[in-house]
């Protein structure tokens, strides 16, 4: 199945590989429902979380996933590290490897950092978000959540609404959803649509009312506050008026459509509060599934022979 020691992006995976990860994650989801939520599968291995960007949920999720597999986990965050003393990325990574890390989970503001580290390190590198490029484990947990509600992904109308251009979550989802046979629709203001979007594989809408029609899955993306006032859209209020996921707009989707969000949520910006908490919302389930999916990724990568 897996041919490489690393998980750098969904772009590099086949549909079969994605499905194998999801099937393995189902097994781990069962483990997480038990009294003893821990298995000895990766006993003696070491996972280092190397985060150059602030993150609570992804880092915590990786940490807990690693602990549930009986590994030892070390968190290495930039503010407390020698990076602030001028150490290069390569030297930091090599010294982490010299400590005996088997996995390096890396998040960095620059796209391609995990790819660079994968060539430098013998350890397995897992991309936990690199710039605006990819966030593969978030997409995998999204696929897992969709599959557990809809039974399949092929043929579903999956709508992604929000800041597509700056979203690594959207990129990873688009790569994977197309491979898995979903009809992908992107909704956002023209200013937030990436230039490189291939319109042969996805449908692009500038109106949420048009794009959301008959959707099986509606995924809202976080509008990063720092984008405000940079010419992408006039104000957060206007964004909500035109693109916010409200109950009224959600009624245009299928009745059993699920509402997803990678978190953290800005209530009243990209999603209305009552929708985020509503009966169709699976936001918290996504968080739980993230644990199972990350366990599956760590577990499967450790079985890879180079």
């Amino acid at each position: 199945m897996f041919k490489t020691k690393d998980l750098l992006g969904i772009k590099d995976l086949t549909a079969d590989e994605i499905n194998h990860i999801l099937d393995t994650a189902s097994g781990f989801k069962d483990v997480l429902a038990r009294d003893i939520k821990k298995v000895p599968a990766l006993r003696g291995k070491t996972v280092v979380n190397l985060f150059f960007e602030p993150s609570t949920r992804t880092r915590t999720s990786f940490e807990l996933a690693a602990k549930r597999l009986s590994t030892d986990v070390v968190n290495f965050s930039v503010t407390t590290s020698s990076i602030t003393k001028g150490e290069t990325l390569r030297d930091t990574a090599l010294s982490i490897q010299a400590l005996g890390a088997d996995f390096v989970v890396v998040r960095h503001g620059t796209a391609g950092v995990p790819h660079f580290l994968s060539g430098v390190l013998k350890a397995s590198v897992i991309n936990a978000g690199d710039g605006t490029n990819e966030h593969p484990t978030q997409a995998l947990l999204d696929f897992f959540t969709i599959r557990s509600h809809k039974g399949k992904i092929e043929g579903l109308n999956v709508v992604i609404v929000g800041d597509i251009a700056h979203s690594r979550v959207a990129k990873s989802n688009i790569y994977g959803l197309i491979k898995l046979g979903a009809n992908v629709r992107l909704i956002c203001p023209p200013t937030l649509m990436p230039a490189e979007i291939n319109k042969r594989n996805v449908e692009v809408f500038n109106s949420i009312e048009q794009g959301i029609k008959d959707a099986d899955v509606v995924m809202a993306l976080r509008i990063q506050m720092e984008r405000q006032g940079k010419g992408f859209f006039p104000s957060l209020e206007e964004y909500f008026d035109l693109y916010g996921l409200t109950g009224e707009r959600l009624r245009l989707a299928k009745d059993d459509a699920i509402v997803m969000h990678p978190g953290p949520i800005n209530r009243g910006v990209e999603i209305a509060s009552d929708v985020a908490d509503g009966r169709q919302s699976v936001v918290l389930e996504q968080v739980t599934n993230g644990l199972a999916v990350r366990m599956a990724v760590l577990y499967l990568l450790s079985g890879v022979k180079e």
Binding site: I36, A41, Y299, V304
Partner: protein, 178 residues
């Protein structure tokens, strides 16, 4: 590769019937008894043993399914990626006499993994082991309490158990390399 049939359908049935009687006799009934089959062959055999025991004793017996993938010790030495299957133990094993059921007993490593997994579900009063075939070559101090048939093998031989639940005809085949 030509294989030698070592058990046919009738012989498998007789072996399981005998094991069912032995389990009842050894445990003086079925009161605190439950069966847990190891994925995959053991699951079908546990099901057959359960219905056999039920027809002899007229009492229901809890039956569970155990996947031991996460407890294996050979993740780093196997050629293929592990495939995770269902675990389903819909009852408490604490205080029970659990009979682990597997098709072939070989090195004993699967049973070691199964016992570790089982103990994460609770504290059984006792764990026993029933296997259809014991082919020797143990690498751990483990032995079966109930054995369908002992067969001498070379380490490199393969023992294949075919069961009708998988759409095959019931039989056990010994495949030798030369």
């Amino acid at each position: 590769m030509p294989g030698k049939e070592i058990l046919n359908s009738k012989e498998i049935e007789r072996a399981l019937t005998r094991i069912a009687h032995e389990i009842i006799e050894r445990n003086k009934g079925t009161e605190t008894l439950c069966l847990i089959g190891i994925q995959r062959g053991g699951v079908y055999l546990a099901g057959r043993l359960a219905s056999c025991i039920q027809s002899i004793e007229g009492a229901h017996i809890d039956t569970g399914i155990l996947d031991i993938t996460f407890y294996r010790d050979d993740l780093y030495s196997k050629k293929d990626q592990p495939v995770v299957r269902t675990t389903d133990i819909p009852f408490s094993v604490t205080g029970k006499t659990v009979v682990i059921v597997d098709d072939v007993l070989f090195t004993g490593r699967s049973i070691r993994a199964a016992m570790d997994a089982l103990i994460d579900f609770g504290r059984p009063a006792a764990i026993q082991l029933a296997v259809l075939i014991d082919r020797g070559h143990r690498e751990l101090p483990i032995r079966a309490d109930y054995v369908g048939k002992n067969i001498p093998t070379h380490f490199s031989d393969m023992v294949e158990v075919f069961l009708k639940e998988e759409g095959k005809e019931d039989k056990v085949v010994l495949i030798s390399e030369q």
